[in-house]
């Protein structure tokens, strides 16, 4: 399968990419920079194609990502993983960082979905779209209101994508992921992390492997009756 994945240079995106490559998929990966881990992956996997692209730019999705990078390749899945977090109290909300986060987390992914669906229509592909959402959209956390709102937007967009394009066999689902030990949560203090983990049934961070396995399942035919869902991978957040 040909799979487009965003945010592949580190954390969850890197784990998902590694997992999908090991299952023999052809990956079209996007990230802002190339980390050491990504370089290693590029050197060891011929079926990994990489594009340096900043998702803050929603205007060049068609030319840079679809015309030049993906070209005529039929896409079977899109994993919308890249995201940035703007953490602050609502009383400190500022327009500039809010808009910039919405561009990366919501607007550009919506444009990518547009061209993914167009690619799938052209090639008659019953493709699978997977958004990485966050438990913060469902269980509030102090300071995450703005970030959580981007994930809520994606969940609504995904549900409607599923309804609009289901007739063509195109599926869309969200993985509602709990807190992981990645860069995204690196600004939290050990006490804050501990408090968050205490709110889960399993009392620990979410294992990225569990998320990668679910992504893999949702891209496969095995999940062909699953669409419009939010699947919680959150260690049983209470």
């Amino acid at each position: 399968m040909n799979i487009l994945v965003t945010g592949i240079s580190k954390g969850l995106g890197l784990e998902i990419t590694r997992h999908l490559l090991e299952s023999g998929n052809n990956i079209f990966g996007i990230s802002r920079n190339q980390t050491e881990e990504l370089s290693t992956l590029l050197n060891t996997h011929k079926n990994l194609n990489w594009l340096q692209y900043d998702l803050a730019d929603s205007t060049n999705v068609k030319t840079k990502v679809f015309n030049e990078f993906i070209g005529n390749t039929p896409l079977h899945a899109f994993i919308n993983n890249a995201a940035v977090a703007y953490d602050d109290l609502i009383t400190n909300l500022n327009d500039e960082p809010l808009l910039s986060m919405y561009r990366v987390n919501v607007f550009t992914p919506m444009h990518i979905v547009k061209y993914c669906i167009r690619n799938m229509l052209l090639h008659n592909t019953k493709g699978s779209i997977i958004h990485i959402s966050s438990i913060s959209a469902h269980t509030g956390y102090k300071g995450l209101a703005m970030y959580a709102s981007t994930k809520g937007a994606l969940e609504a967009f995904s549900k409607n994508t599923a309804r609009e394009w289901g007739e063509k066999g195109i599926r869309s689902n969200c993985l509602v992921v709990g807190f992981m030990e990645t860069d995204m949560s690196s600004t939290l203090t050990p006490e804050q992390k501990n408090r968050i983990f205490q709110r889960t049934s399993l009392k620990k961070p979410v294992d990225p492997r569990s998320v990668a396995e679910t992504v893999s399942f949702l891209t496969s035919e095995k999940s062909n009756s699953i669409t419009g869902q939010n699947i919680f991978i959150d260690n049983g957040t209470i």
């Binding site: 669906i117 167009r118 229509l121 052209l122 008659n124 394009w165 007739e167």
Partner: protein, 73 residues
């Protein structure tokens, strides 16, 4: 160009299990005469763009076959 557009229209109809059209004329309405719904129209614009590099709906929705050729000029 006419034959290609005719072929594309029939491909879209066939993909939805709809009745193909034998001939094409400019006054034909995409929805009422050809039988396209909104999903078919989306597929039509994608297939025409792949062939002619023009997004026929970019400047607004069109409703007849003649308007397709207007946009492709």
């Amino acid at each position: 160009m006419r034959d290609t557009v005719h072929q594309i229209i029939n491909t879209v109809l066939a993909n939805r299990g709809k009745k193909l059209i034998d001939s094409l004329n400019d006054s034909m309405r995409l929805r009422d005469d050809i039988g396209f719904d909104s999903l078919d129209l989306a597929e039509l614009t994608v297939r025409i763009e792949a062939q002619f590099n023009v997004d026929i709906f970019e400047k607004g929705i069109i409703s007849t076959v003649g308007e397709i050729f207007e946009r492709l000029k």
